[in-house]
Symmetry: C2
Amino acid sequence: MDVDIGNALDSVATPGVPRSYLERLDGRVADAHERIAAGMADGEFGHAALNLPETCDPGAIRAAVEPLADAETVLTVGIGGSALGAATLTDALADGDAHYLDNVDPAHTEDLLDSLDLESTAVNVVSRSGTTAETLANFLVVREAYEAAGVDWTERTLVTTGEDGNLRELADAHGLPALDVPSGVPGRFSVLSTVGLAPAAILGVDVEGVLAGARAERDSLAGSLFETPAYAYGALAYALDERGASANVMMPYHESMETYAEWYAQLHAESLGKDGLGQTPVRALGATDQHSQLQLYRAGPNDKVVTFVRARETPDVAIPSADLDGLDYLDGATLGGLRDAEFEATEASLADVGLPTLRVEIERADAESLGGLLYGMEAATVLAGELYDVETFVQPAVEWGKEVARGILRGEEALPEKETLRVARE
Amino acid sequence: MDVDIGNALDSVATPGVPRSYLERLDGRVADAHERIAAGMADGEFGHAALNLPETCDPGAIRAAVEPLADAETVLTVGIGGSALGAATLTDALADGDAHYLDNVDPAHTEDLLDSLDLESTAVNVVSRSGTTAETLANFLVVREAYEAAGVDWTERTLVTTGEDGNLRELADAHGLPALDVPSGVPGRFSVLSTVGLAPAAILGVDVEGVLAGARAERDSLAGSLFETPAYAYGALAYALDERGASANVMMPYHESMETYAEWYAQLHAESLGKDGLGQTPVRALGATDQHSQLQLYRAGPNDKVVTFVRARETPDVAIPSADLDGLDYLDGATLGGLRDAEFEATEASLADVGLPTLRVEIERADAESLGGLLYGMEAATVLAGELYDVETFVQPAVEWGKEVARGILRGEEALPEKETLRVARE
């Protein structure tokens, strides 16, 4: 990926970052890069994710999913990092039908199962521990649906899990194809592993290309933000937050990359949201959100940075000429040309009011470019974690609620008393 | 809808609102209600939206869509308010297949058209002016696809537009069924009109029920936030923003309401994002985002308010008992029970750290309850606009970029010079 940080400099934006500050910050980036490189070399927890382009074996994934190669549909049962990376890849790259049970919602689970032809659907159940409540609950319901439909679920199920635990035992007991969740890799950093790649592989995505693109991005990591696009992105997000950009808007200009923005929102929020720090990630989509959020971005508080993402080369479609008035500017135009004009005009319209923006570009919306982008944003996040000085790879704050929810289900008095002031309709 | 504001009081949250302040604010709410009621009585621009439960005629919608009643799929071509309200209703309530071309993306438009059986697809093109660039460009491409497939588009197309303009002339020339965009109603407030209801009506949604629910909510509007759920919501969002909650997270706990959160984000951002004011709306989804955003909400900066939304009664699905270890707490549980336990635990986990939250509840995830919720959030936004003292119903900041984009397409030198500092891979 390439990053243009021009519109985030203080010559354009408020908040904006002075070039002189960036030159000083670059010393901290060099130190952070040394720590990151050392962590990678030692395969440390979390840093191991940045080695996945080398350590992930696409051949093992292809071999494990081979019994499911005839599936037309893949239903992944997982939540959070066990679903979002895979969904990012299949939504952007797969032609086939990928579905995700990544919520606990009876109506949705039932409707989705009713709509699927289970005979031609592969199930991919993903949980490192084998005890994730939402995932296991959904999987039990899915298994029952297969039984009710007279389809042998053991012929249709792939398990992606840790070395031991419930799902591993289940796989062993029934001889299911099984993949290992990589060790030392938090869920939100697992897109370039078995967790992210298996559903894509079943649906024919070029997973080798994804890894090759990530490898090229990894090879670009160097000790300066002025030489490393990923570090330029991470350093600018940090420096803008320091100056008041408390929201971080991720706005790809490709419908197929809508899920990428959601993936980034998890990566950013769960990695950096701690110790009272962390920007609020906001998912957006160009050009659609020009008709929804742009009014706020341009005329609201200057408390955000907007990241525009686009592929430089995409397929295009000519706009047929029309017998309609007032559309002269569409004469001879294409949908891609219109999109690009709006991309540049929207970027300029925020520069015009001094809202900081960053421009991220990839070559194409293909496997290699997307692999590079995903790796780059992971490296950007790890760098930002070093600059914030937080523990990037843990997520302790989600445990409290999980414990209370389990207590409620066990019938214990787990909930503290709630302050209530209810306003109801007469 | 009902609103519980207990967890946003300063006895729980920081930022939080003192009860004594709310009592003083209630005087401003009473004044604002008088202005809103007067605006409604006079059918003023914008306020006319709050009269739609009375002024919108579902019979006229049903009559107009009757020629398309056999369609299995509805493809709406529109952007922003011309798509989001309709998508909110069809995603939540329709069994049939609704698609939206609400972006300008050649790959997506082409893929979607390739995947549809045009013979059984109704096209609903929506633009008040008939010159919206993205919508008209897509419509021209859609029309050509029908011609290429040998399907008569004039037999399959519904037009929803203003009294005159391109699309009106097209409808007249070809005898197309046509509906009027209501006058005095900005796009983001048009869900309870022809614009939002027509695609839902084609797909068999109980649009009369949606309007009845909205009417009941309208009848609840009174001059006090302590008596009016909609005003309680709008006043608290405003009062929390004043105290530092610069992000507004809308988090329904139903997969079918994911689009509702997107609709709300447009309503809120475009109505209140002006004069340097306005919270940043953030779309979220429970329980999924507990595994993505909760770490940040609980451990990051206290600069946000989270709104939890749920229906009190929903269908449920039993979780089959399992032969798996560590899942004792799921014994005898249901997917709905698990979801509700997580809802309450997550709410408690944010109260535990003093992050302000609001709880919005509706009876069911059905037409009437959803109609009430949508109307309530519109009234909440209008009330907040009065408290912020901004012009709620206009969106002047989006014009600059539109003009520049048109200039680029015309080949003019429309873009100002851009500051560039590009970091590229070696």
